[in-house]
């Protein structure tokens, strides 16, 4: 009953929004070039599904590889920062600074260094996804319960064990919420990468249809991007539940 309510409301909202949108487009006769009606978008998805799927696979590949690299890098750097204060002080400010650099400046540099293949797009994804994970994880590592660490130390736990038994489980929820943010952004990162130079991918396809004045297909692309982003986010949530069942159990209680 409660579960049911949990799902019925967002769906209801969506239906209302779509209905108002469809009605407005039809009633005010808004041109396709300005804003396509939801029905146009659905039709476009139907007719172009094969193309969208093909380009999706390219984008998804870049996004997932980038996300994986970003995650591994972020975990490593966060742990290094936790281990060594000097390293933390040397690296942390530049992590923050790196996020303020506009992508538009970096994109061309990436292409200049790495050419036109997958590499610059993956680098773009890594650049955009690295920060939320690293920050969330290193922040949580900083706030680990000192007493728990003391207990483990008094039990003779070595550094690795302190991480495995206390630090990582404590910081895992934060790591995963960072990862969820990144999973939501990574497709966007790949798209930006593809705008700079590509011969396939959703970003590439989107620019093409946009320049062909096909706004229904542009929105079809947007829908695909949203779906893939949500699926990636969901995959991360699933992974968390598998790896850290405690969190689920706890949520179930409260």
């Amino acid at each position: 009953m409660k579960r049911y309510q949990q799902y019925i409301m967002p769906v209801l909202c969506l239906i209302v929004v779509l209905a108002v949108w469809e009605f407005s487009v039809q009633f005010f006769g808004i041109d396709l070039y300005v804003l396509p009606a939801p029905s146009d978008i659905v039709k476009a998805i139907g007719s172009e599904f094969g193309t969208l799927w093909m380009h999706s696979m390219v984008t998804l590949q870049e996004a997932v590889i980038g996300l994986l690299i970003a995650t591994v890098l972020a975990i490593l750097i966060a742990i290094l920062m936790d281990l060594n204060r000097t390293f933390r002080h040397s690296v942390f400010p530049y992590l923050v600074v790196s996020q303020t650099v506009p992508v538009m400046v970096l994109g061309p540099l990436f292409t200049m260094w790495l050419g036109f293949g997958l590499a610059p797009k993956i680098l773009m994804v890594v650049f955009m996804c690295f920060f939320p994970i690293a920050i969330a994880f290193s922040d949580a590592l900083q706030h680990v319960n000192r007493n728990q660490i003391n207990l483990l130390r008094s039990f003779g736990a070595n550094l690795l064990q302190q991480y495995l038994y206390v630090k990582i489980p404590t910081a895992a929820p934060a790591l995963f919420s960072g990862l969820k943010v990144s999973a939501t952004y990574c497709i966007g990162g790949a798209i930006v990468g593809e705008w700079l130079s590509a011969s396939a991918g959703l970003g590439y396809y989107m620019i093409r249809v946009k320049n062909g004045f096909l706004m229904d297909k542009v929105f079809a692309c947007v829908i695909m991007i949203i779906i893939w982003s949500l699926l990636l986010n969901f995959a991360v949530t699933l992974l968390e539940r598998i790896l850290f069942p405690y969190t689920r159990k706890r949520k179930g209680v409260s």
Partner: protein, 310 residues
């Protein structure tokens, strides 16, 4: 910038990269004809076409990430007059005349730059664009300061909405599209407003390193491209069909209209496709210098070469 390592494949084809200025359109028909009809292969080349490549195409070509690029005359002039000049040269003009101009809604009755006063212009906000507007308005005795300049959000009349009155578009693309959509528009070619504005757009460039050390490849590339454009000039329908394979999302009727228009324009008033003239380069360089876009002029020979148009 050094040359990228040339990978010679088993079939003996030399691999080169071309970066486009924009998404594929009828400006690029000849290139795609050469690609799809196997002209490149006949000339021993395997061409990777990269799109859409922003105007960084010029830089990428300069540093050797791409052997060839499609860009604009203005870009070449900027690049050649930069404090550290980019080592590139234009090697072909795709279209002999500037086929761009100002569009506006017919009901606004904008007939000459004189009527620009009090209107809103949407563009890509380059300094050169401002200079051109200044020049054409001054030429018509209008006050440039009465024009509002904003950034464009798209191309064509649809994207102009109610707020924008004037936009600068290619005749062979947005203008034809607008007309086919049934919009009533006024079109004012820039080349008619000031002869110096009849510059080449777009042009194909390569880097100096290629010209010096691998002219055979450049020649082979240009021969194939020229063959492609000649084909497009002769049979616009067939060429449009080839381009449609590349951009299947674009309406075929529109593509055909656009292609027919451009096929007539590619080598208009010229003996052969691709040839460039000193006076066009000098004229626009002069113009850019006059309006403070560049701080010194350079001769046309520093900017282009016709040596690969055979």
């Amino acid at each position: 910038g050094g040359q990228t390592e040339q990978t010679t494949e088993g079939d003996g084809l030399k691999e080169v990269t071309l970066v486009l200025d924009y998404v594929p359109n009828t400006n690029h028909t000849g290139i795609y004809v050469a690609q799809k009809s196997g002209y490149f292969e006949q000339h021993g080349l395997k061409v990777n076409i990269i799109e859409p490549g922003d105007n960084d195409a010029t830089t990428l070509c300069a540093v050797g990430k791409a052997e060839f690029a499609v860009t604009y005359q203005e870009n070449v002039t900027y690049a050649r007059t930069a404090s550290e000049p980019l080592p590139i040269r234009a090697i072909a003009a795709i279209i002999q005349h500037n086929t761009s101009g100002f569009i506006s809604r017919a009901e606004d009755n904008i007939q000459s730059p004189k009527d620009f006063e009090g209107k809103v212009y949407a563009g890509w906000q380059a300094p050169s664009e401002e200079a051109v507007l200044k020049a054409v308005m001054a030429g018509a005795g209008a006050d440039f300061s009465k024009l509002t300049m904003v950034g464009a959000t798209g191309s064509g009349l649809e994207s102009m909405g109610d707020d924008i009155d004037i936009q600068w578009e290619f005749e062979g693309w947005a203008v034809i599209n607008d007309r086919m959509q049934g919009y009533d528009i006024n079109y004012m070619p820039v080349k008619d407003l000031d002869s110096r504005l009849d510059y080449y757009t777009p042009v194909i460039i390569t880097n100096e390193d290629m010209i010096e050390n691998d002219p055979e490849t450049v020649q082979a590339f240009m021969d194939a491209v020229k063959q492609g454009y000649e084909y497009a000039i002769e049979s616009p329908e067939a060429a449009a069909n080839i381009l449609h394979e590349v951009i299947p999302d674009t309406d075929m009727d529109f593509l055909l209209e656009s292609q027919k228009f451009l096929s007539d324009q590619y080598s208009l008033d010229s003996d052969t496709w691709g040839l460039m003239k000193d006076e066009v380069w000098d004229g626009y360089t002069e113009f850019m210098y006059e309006y403070g876009l560049i701080d010194h002029t350079i001769p046309a020979s520093e900017q282009y070469t016709n040596q690969f148009i055979k």
